[in-house]
């Protein structure tokens, strides 16, 4: 089986549930537009419907068909995206990450401050910071709406809020998808571009 690139997204229950799912969909759609095989799915292992509980969304990207059909958690994520910086303090977000992984965080805080909260930061090769909340507007905790909260068919208005700038930031540290393909997949095209422009990559 070919190498499978695993992405895990951490977000807050209910309030960021839709944007977290949209982020996983945008990254998958962007990679699929570039001719990759992809999987994107929602949390199954976490508590999904309690407000602000930390929860996960997943992506898999590969050059060949992905045969891990019935494994519904990413055990070895190479890229981790965090939608709310306080999650880092509560959870070992890098659990299972092979050495040399990448982390993208939505935060206004400095890289040193974020790194001081991660006990196993030696696994990281880069830390990317983007103020997605500032770009998307609002507090980052209000859900845009609850449309299609069960996943449903979402292809048109995907990533209107927080997901757009974070997808743009992810394109700077991951070569599995290009910025153009992500822009084409997201509804908030300006947000994706702004996220890619303002994201700060710190190589560790």
């Amino acid at each position: 089986m070919a190498d499978v690139f695993e992405i895990t997204i951490w977000c807050r229950g209910v309030t960021q549930d839709m944007e977290g799912r949209h982020l996983s969909l945008v990254l998958a759609n962007g990679a699929a537009k570039g001719g990759k095989f992809v999987q994107a799915w929602d949390n199954y292992a976490d508590l999904p419907d309690r407000v602000q509980v930390p929860l996960r969304k997943y992506d898999r990207i590969s050059d060949e068909e992905i045969e891990m059909r019935y494994l519904y958690e990413n055990d070895h994520p190479q890229l981790v995206l965090v939608m709310d910086d306080t999650i880092i303090k509560g959870i070992d977000i890098l659990r299972g990450m092979p050495k040399g992984g990448a982390l993208v965080v939505n935060t206004k805080r400095s890289a040193d401050e974020i790194l001081s909260l991660i006990p196993n930061k030696d696994l990281l090769s880069s830390l990317t910071l983007v103020d997605a909340t500032g770009i998307a507007g609002g507090t980052g905790l209000e859900s845009v709406d609850f449309m299609g909260s069960e996943g449903g068919v979402e292809a048109v208005s995907v990533a209107v809020g927080l997901a757009a700038p974070l997808a743009g930031a992810a394109s700077k540290v991951c070569d599995k998808f290009t910025l153009d393909n992500l822009v084409a997949s997201a509804a908030n095209k300006a947000g994706v571009k702004e996220g890619a422009k303002t994201a700060v990559v710190k190589t560790l």
Partner: protein, 115 residues
């Protein structure tokens, strides 16, 4: 019932119930149900304003406030507080305020394997 319990409580043989029915009631903290990692903002108490009316103790759904008998001050539990803000809403003396969790170094309720 285990022999230990039977001896302790001196229950007659014909009144004993099957093994597994008696469980000790949880008296301490629950190590597998740490909910402190849900918290975005934490309540910070101003002991000058606090009147120890115990509203926070009564309203907290997780029992994260208690009155320390020695110092006679309210004490907050960082490991189980979810940051639901109920105590801040209910405080009549305006002694509680919210502050972002990352402004504090301590109070880490990190789970190695969540859930």
């Amino acid at each position: 019932m285990s022999p230990l319990y039977a001896e302790k409580f001196r229950i007659p043989k014909h009144l004993e119930i099957a093994d597994g029915a008696v469980v000790p009631s949880p008296v301490g903290e629950q190590p597998m149900m740490k909910t402190g990692n849900w918290r975005i903002e934490r309540p910070v108490i101003d002991h000058e304003k606090c009147t120890t009316c115990l509203n926070c103790f009564i309203f907290c759904p997780d029992g994260c406030w208690h009155l320390d008998p020695k110092s006679e001050k309210m004490v907050w539990d960082a490991i189980y507080c979810k940051g639901c803000r109920i105590c801040v809403e209910e405080c009549p003396a305006d002694a509680l305020r919210l502050e972002n969790e990352l402004n504090f170094k301590g109070g880490v309720a990190r789970l190695d394997k969540p859930y």
